[in-house]
């Protein structure tokens, strides 16, 4: 079907009247992995927050549809229920909300009543086990006092538990050591291998190409100054690895 996918068309968005995204066109097909690369400040996180519905980010033009459903104008919770997931670069700490209760509330919100509490628990422990997470995680408060690696693991656990149609991973690799990076790669692979996640599409936002050694991207985009200036295959990531963003910046004629 032609309207399948997370389709972003001519998206302009910004914060407090400053335009940051200057016309983004991007389609993530079901089952595909797209990487979005770019230097700091190029607008990658703005794209993630604009798609997820953060109230501080204003979309001024364009559209974003998820399997045909327009997301812009929907509240963040409705976008999530439509099948969108954002893995945060800096997940909020919420003392007083226990991980287990939060995951259950989130699963209930996204897929109401599809699992009995005992089946949910069984699923949760299986996913935690595969992520190498200690069961004591469940009784801790959400991201409260978590190390950087623990926060990212919890994001990956939520990805597994919510099994979205489309997942945006915003710099999930930042601050991670090689082992944790491998775990992120395995989390994405595990979801893609699961019955719920076979058709999931991914937008992997990253500054560094190294995450792409653990997740093979079908398509790589490079964003500079709020525009996607180059799109290619995995070889584009290798080019950035060797030469940095300057070559692409010059080639595209973008203002430094």
């Amino acid at each position: 079907m032609s309207d399948q996918g997370l389709r972003v068309t001519n998206l302009h968005a910004g914060v407090a009247g400053n335009e940051i995204l200057k016309g983004i066109d991007l389609t993530i097909e079901p089952g595909k992995v797209h990487a979005l690369m770019g230097p700091n400040g190029s607008g990658k996180s703005t794209l993630a927050f604009s798609l997820a519905g953060h109230p501080l980010y204003q979309v001024t033009q364009g559209s974003a549809t998820l399997d045909g459903e327009e997301l812009l104008g929907l509240s963040a919770d409705k976008r999530a229920r439509a099948g969108l997931f954002l893995s945060f670069q800096y997940p909020a700490a919420i003392p007083g909300v226990k991980v287990a209760n939060f995951l259950h509330a989130a699963r209930q919100a996204v897929r109401p009543g599809d699992l009995t509490p005992s089946k949910f628990r069984a699923m949760l422990f299986e996913k935690m086990d595969s992520l190498g997470m200690d069961p004591t995680f469940m009784g801790r408060y959400l991201n409260d006092g978590f190390s950087g690696g623990e926060k990212k693991r919890l994001e990956m656990l939520q990805l597994a538990v919510l099994a979205p149609k489309y997942a945006i991973l915003d710099e999930t690799d930042s601050g991670l050591d090689v082992d944790a990076l491998k775990d992120v790669g395995e989390s994405v692979a595990a979801l893609r291998a699961s019955a719920e996640g076979q058709q999931a599409g991914f937008l992997i936002i990253t500054h560094y190409p190294r995450i792409l050694q653990h997740i093979t991207a079908d398509v790589v985009h490079v964003m500079i100054d709020g525009r996607i200036v180059k799109t290619g295959g995995a070889e584009l990531a290798n080019l950035i690895e060797r030469e940095g963003y300057d070559a692409i910046r010059e080639e595209s004629g973008a203002v430094a």
Binding site: G53, H54, D77, R79, I94, P95, V97, Q158
Partner: protein
């Protein structure tokens, strides 16, 4: 001995003296101002209509090894035991403690013998008739190594006035937990004074929740006079509408090698007003004291107001003293994070607000009571 309380512990002269002390003692509370509208030194009270025996008390779950009875029965049957706790922890020294003492009569006495443990809460429920003025006293005496958990409840009270005391004497190594859940009608007024003296290596834990009443003014004071003693104070309140809550807690470390831990979580919405004053005093010779005071306030509407003042007076130099206080609004990043997981905004706000109270809720006894607190707090949210 129908008048055993008067004959043994509270003569007419003692009542008259308490009444005079009430009149002469300043409340010590701030004057009314831009936000706070109630003058605690000029409450509209007609003492000529007050009597010691209004209201009723219901006692549930008495422990077989403990003595748990109404105050007047305790005076008649266990006068010598009652005398070891009644009026000995200083409750009558405060303005409203003096008023409560002047009209004391309704109440309950809990006595736990040495090394007995009453961990299932003994529940003392004060039912307050509409329009009444009631003066409940809860007196707790624990012998060496005894443990007890007591839950006080205050219910009813359309337009009522409640002025009560709690006094706790915990002997060596004893552990007393005094929880209180106040859900009076929203036009009632309640003034409480809770005082305790833990002996060597004893712990006294107060956990109070003020959710009802138009005016709730509470004072909690633990005086630590023996090494190894510990005070825990946990307080939560949530004024909405025009409710006013004014809480003062004081831990007085008069000897060293003692610890205290105070946690206060408050929120206010609508035109709800609250004030909290947290006193920690460590005397000059109380070396090795360890005191912590954590006080956080959450404002949920622009007309709500909470004044929060930690007051530390530390005269010793070899102590640990922590205090932290915040006043703020809901964390929008937290709300967005929850929303991004599919949970609607209203539910996300309720989740964050209830979570905010959780560190105080956790310190209340029994999961059943904690669930009741969560539900009562949730019911106050828009």
């Amino acid at each position: 001995m129908p008048n055993a309380l008067e004959d043994r512990l509270l003569s007419g002269a003692a009542r008259a003296a308490a009444r005079e002390r009430f009149a002469a003692t300043p409340s010590g509370r701030e004057r009314p101002g831009r936000y706070w509208k109630v003058d605690l030194d000029a409450l509209d009270l007609d003492l000529s209509t007050f009597s010691p025996d209004a209201g009723s008390v219901r006692i549930e779950n008495p422990h077989p090894r403990a003595i748990v009875c109404e105050l007047r029965a305790a005076a008649a049957e266990h006068g010598a035991l009652l005398a070891r706790a009644f009026g000995v922890t200083g409750a009558a020294e405060t303005k409203f403690g003096a008023l409560a003492t002047a009209f004391a009569g309704l109440g309950a006495f809990v006595y736990v013998p040495a090394d007995a443990a009453c961990d299932e809460p003994i529940v003392i429920t004060y039912s307050v008739p509409a329009g009444a003025a009631v003066f409940p006293s809860t007196i707790v005496l624990l012998e060496r190594g005894a443990r007890a958990t007591v839950l006080e409840r205050f219910e009813g009270g359309d337009g009522a006035f409640v002025c009560g005391t709690v006094e706790v004497v915990a002997s060596e190594r004893a552990h007393a937990t005094l929880a209180s859940l106040q859900t009076l009608a929203e036009d009632a007024r309640i003034l409480t004074t809770r005082t305790a003296k833990p002996h060597r290596d004893a712990t006294v834990a107060f956990a109070t929740a003020d959710l009802g009443a138009s005016l709730a003014a509470g004072e909690v004071k633990v005086s630590i006079e023996h090494p190894g003693a510990r005070a825990e104070i946990s307080t939560l309140f949530f004024p909405r509408g025009n409710q006013h809550v004014d809480i003062v807690s004081t831990v007085d470390h008069r000897v060293g090698q003692s610890t205290s831990d105070t946690v206060v979580k408050s929120a206010a919405t609508d035109r709800g007003q609250a004030r909290y004053l947290g006193n920690i005093r460590i005397a000059a010779h109380a070396q090795g004291s360890d005191a912590s005071l954590r006080d956080d306030a959450l404002l949920l509407s622009k007309n709500a107001h909470i004044d929060s003042v930690p007051a530390l007076e530390i005269a010793a130099n070899d102590v640990k003293a922590f205090h932290g206080a915040t006043v703020g609004a809901l964390d929008l990043d937290a709300i967005f994070y929850i929303e991004s997981r599919g949970i609607p905004r209203g539910a996300a706000e309720r989740m964050v607000t209830l979570a905010f109270f959780e560190p105080a809720i956790e310190r209340f006894p029994t999961e059943g009571l904690r669930e009741e607190l969560r539900a009562a707090l949730a019911a106050k949210l828009p």
